[in-house]
Symmetry: C2
Subunit: 333 residues, 2 copies
DNA sequence: ATGAAAGCGCTAACAA
DNA sequence: TTGTTAGCGCTTTCAT
């Protein structure tokens, strides 16, 4: 591969001038510009990214951390982010944790290594205080619940406690009292992401309903997890079934519904299911899904704007009005 | 940030020894090892990735090119790839073209810049001969139809012409003659990916059915594109409707079906729809989708094994037996 | 408007 | 087993 040195020699100029040309500096005569252009083409020159990074200490790369790319909530979020990043000089590096906190740390370390200049965290596995320690190495924007705001990190957040509270209230008002609660994490471990849990508990309390541990389903993330949970519920005595299951993700909701229908169990009727996310296909499944819609597009866009402002040491005011959750009533409840 | 120099000074050793430790070279006494370890911890040292790359001319990064991440075929393919890459020293860089050939070139250029060591192309926008020119900068594995084999590039491929031929024959045998054909590209422009088109034409010819241009739908990629196509068909006179639509992607098939059902049109009955990919949710939609299943997991795994072998200058025999397409009969046809 | 030269943090050939 | 040293390809003072 050709280097800047060879280009300079070919053009009969110094490396400095070529470098200036590369970086759009002023003070280069049009004549030389042309010479350089010609030399670069003749030698099929492309700047070596590592050298540029090493010298300038900028990677122009933004890390996007998600738990899994196959979850449409995340893939659409990433898509929204990429659209905004595209016209900027930045690139995007998509990183999956698969819900593993250790993996998340490994990814945060990339900030230290200068592989990435900044991070957008679309999912969070570790304690927020640990994440905050990495702020010294570059800006980190977190997305999630408004409770993250007190971390002091820049945040693009929705009110998930309130949304969950309203969702559970909606179920209670429909007359359901035996409510199953399905979470991606572990219910009893109160850490981040407990905002949805708090909303759930608040709604139950208001209706003087006691929390029933056997209705809490932990670590349910994927379509497959939904199948497994569905089968295990079907295998339990029918009088122990919840009347409705509130899930943390539409994918789980969809596979639950499918498992029930396949077994001849009516949804709703025998058992109802509520989703979370309002993913693209949720209106087109066997039983159109009642769910909580997340403003994916807005979250992604605001997060990038915020991060890039931080990278440029400018300020940016997140447009909170775009970040509203709402219940989408369809047929599964 | 601490550098290797500071670590060396702190440990009372030379940078060489520290570098050796970092790269697991032999010939370091345990005593020094410990000293280095301590110094690294004390200084919170992490190697600078750009410097390592520049010096060693290896990025340990594999580029994965897809057209769009929101398409489950691609997100599951990426997922399969990441699982195999994870235990290796390599990282993964996911790159979207959004079907834009120019963007694809920009991504291929990353090979030249040494941002990535090798590429897995999950989608292809440019002529294969153009892509082949980049081979000199690093190994490129392409996935797709077996017709790619004659390009001379390393390939992980399925027989899409045969699968499409069988699919169309299946439709013809069911008595459908007015078959709509929905493609992500442009039908008339015969370039790569025309293998499915060839299978389509072959099946029609065998049944002495003439190609009807008005039944060819070009540039239909996304869920939204499916909606638009569905509406435009509904707006045409009913006697001009195709009896069945063969699509290039389940997402398109699903949104077509949804559009039809919403309008009170029966699927199948008034109009049938066949998909391609066998994406995860296809069995759970309103009308379970008849489709062509692709061995996503196997394609991803074989592609990584092949690429990494190439990077290590070893040989690898792709297991072709895993790369079979098959028709999945459900209810939409 | 252009160039010489120092050095970013790391690896590896060579020496000891 | 350890150290000295010369770059990898680029950007950026500081001169002129």
């Amino acid at each position: 591969m050709a280097t800047i040195k060879e280009v300079a020699k070919h053009a009969g100029l110094s490396v400095t001038t070529v470098s200036r040309y590369l970086n759009n500096h002023p003070y280069i005569s049009d004549e030389k510009k042309e010479k350089i252009q010609k030399a670069m083409e003749a030698l099929d020159y492309t700047p070596n990214a590592a050298a540029t990074q090493l010298r300038s200490n900028k990677s122009y790369t933004i890390g996007i951390i998600v738990s899994r790319i196959t979850n449409p909530y995340f893939s659409y979020l990433i898509d929204a982010i990429e659209q905004v990043v595209k016209p900027t000089p930045y690139h995007t590096l998509i990183l999956q944790t698969y819900d593993d906190p250790k993996e998340e740390v490994r990814l945060l370390d990339m900030l230290k290594q200068r592989t990435i200049d900044g991070i957008i965290m679309c999912s969070i596995e570790n304690d927020i205080s640990l994440i905050k320690q990495y702020k010294q190495y570059g800006p980190i924007v977190v997305t999630g619940d408004i409770s993250l705001k007190k971390s002091g990190l820049p945040v693009v957040a929705t009110d998930q406690e309130e949304a969950t509270y309203l969702a559970i209230k909606y179920l209670l008002d429909k007359g359901y009292t035996e409510i199953g609660y399905c979470t991606g994490g572990i219910f009893s471990k109160s850490k981040h992401g407990s905002s949805r849990k708090n909303g759930f508990i608040k709604a139950l309390n208001e209706h003087h309903i006691e929390l029933n541990d056997s209705r809490i389903y932990n670590n349910v993330h994927t379509i497959d997890d939904g199948f497994k949970l569905g089968r295990s519920i079907l295998n339990s005595p029918k009088n122990e079934w919840p009347e409705v299951i509130f899930t943390s993700s539409d994918e789980v909701a969809i596979s639950l519904i499918h498992t029930f229908i396949e077994a001849g169990v009516k949804v709703p009727g025998d058992i109802a299911v509520m989703g979370y996310d309002n993913q693209p296909l949720t209106s087109m499944i066997q039983v159109p899904l009642t769910t909580v819609s997340q403003p994916v597009q807005a979250i992604g866009e605001e997060a990038v704007h915020l991060l890039i402002s931080l990278l440029n040491e400018e300020s940016y005011e997140v447009n909170e009005d775009r970040l509203m959750l709402e219940i989408v009533e369809r047929k599964s409840v």
